[in-house]
Amino acid sequence: MNPITRALYFAGAALRMMRASPWLNVVSVLTIAVSLSLCGLFAMAFFNAHALIRDLGSSLTIQVYLADETTPERAQAIEQRLRGHEGVRSVVALTREADRERNRKLLDPELLEGLDEEAIPGQPVLELELDSALASRGDLERMVEWARQIEKVESVEDVAFGAERLRLLFAVLEIVQSVGVVLSLVLLASALFFVFSTVRLAIWSRRDEIEILALMGATRRFIRSPFLIEGALQGLLGAAVAIVAVGLLHLELEGLVRDVYLLNVQPSLLPPGMVMWLLVGGPALGLVAAGLSLGRHLRV
């Protein structure tokens, strides 16, 4: 018998076992589907949030206000120093006049009427644009710390770093992440348990056959394969159900987001990579659970 016929033989045996206890198998498959979908959704929420953070991070700037009397040489020296720092994409130096010019444009022309040029606020300033490589909260905190140190540099009057929103986002994300990880683990464990139980029942209801097979010279692999395939099939079906469910949710959400141009980020719940992960993860979960169940309940 070639490997394919043999695999088909085992698959047939597995299908017969699944047909013998259909409801338990349905429950197993659904538990796997629910846990895989939620794990996938958590993962995608996390990735999408990260994309959002990257987006926000790339628009972050630090303004370093210099004292009025700073000489151009001094300003240039500070600029050089900042430019070399990690995470700084570019530094634009504005003279007092340039800053004043910019402020003038921001102010209401009526307000400026008859105003003394000197009364318009203006200060030499270095504007730092940051890399979008702020991948983690740690990166951001380091940047905040660095901004504080800049404040202590001679001739620097003030430093403005509008990172509060981003810091909040990171904090929220961290909570979501830990809740997601814990919940995913609980869900995966329960899926594992359901497959474990169905396989146990299958072993139990087939103990007479297992005994005869062993007595007649069947190898361990021959006896175990159908049960492992049963687990893997449950996992595969669970993954398929999960993919369909999340796919539908994705379409729903896509319609919603298209109407609300809020975000720069295109949220995706079901990228091809995720589909692949589910298709591999489902059967792997089923295999592991079936293997554990065999180890626990089958003495051959």
Binding site: M1, R6, R16, L215, G217, R220, R221
Partner: protein
Amino acid sequence: MIQLYNVHKRYENGVVALHDVTLRVREGEMVFLTGPSGAGKSTLIRLLLCTERGSEGQILIGGRNIHALRDDSVPFLRRNFGVVFQDFRLIGRRNVRENVAIGMEILGLPRKDIERRTEQLLEALGIAHRGAAFPRDLSGGEAQRVAIARALVNEPAILLCDEPTGNLDPTLSREIIDLLSEVNRRGTTVLVATHDAALIERYGCRTLTLEGGRLTLDRPRRDAVGLEASGLGASAVGTASAAAPPGREATQEPAEAP
């Protein structure tokens, strides 16, 4: 074919089921194993099948010592045996044909061969008309014939029967033992554990008696009385074993079918 040297078996609970048993069954012999309940007959069969391991002594099957056989070699040892039990042990979910096919599925034979061989065996055992029946619908005699067909399907060198007639009335019992004798005439070594003194008398085969785990009597074949026990008598039968399929020695480990 089967050799035991000073075999002891002590179960985990401390019961000594076999005590210093030494015996030899030659290729092509038919041997009854008898003795009172608890004498150790089933234990002896379990040791041969490696479902239990001996505590001391040596067991050779086809010249190979199975005392230290690795766990993953056990299935290949078992393929030398056919087994038949008192309670038939047919699989209720499988019909008669599917029960008989089990051994060939293990070997991974092609479906066509399995079907042909199954029909052939059912025919030979007179149960061809019951091929589609399920075990719960079989009479005791039919069920035991199916069990024998299942045990013989891969032409084992040795047929081990533990109380094969225990659940059958005397007429059916005789039919089953007639069947086993016929199997033996075709070259298979047959070992039958039984309580049934009348049966043993009727057939006059070599008879080993166990009592309290000790081998107390080795009575030779009736027509061989006077000759050395299991010596000439067995070798005379042994010539018939040329008909036995080759490649059935325990020393051989056929690679598992792919």
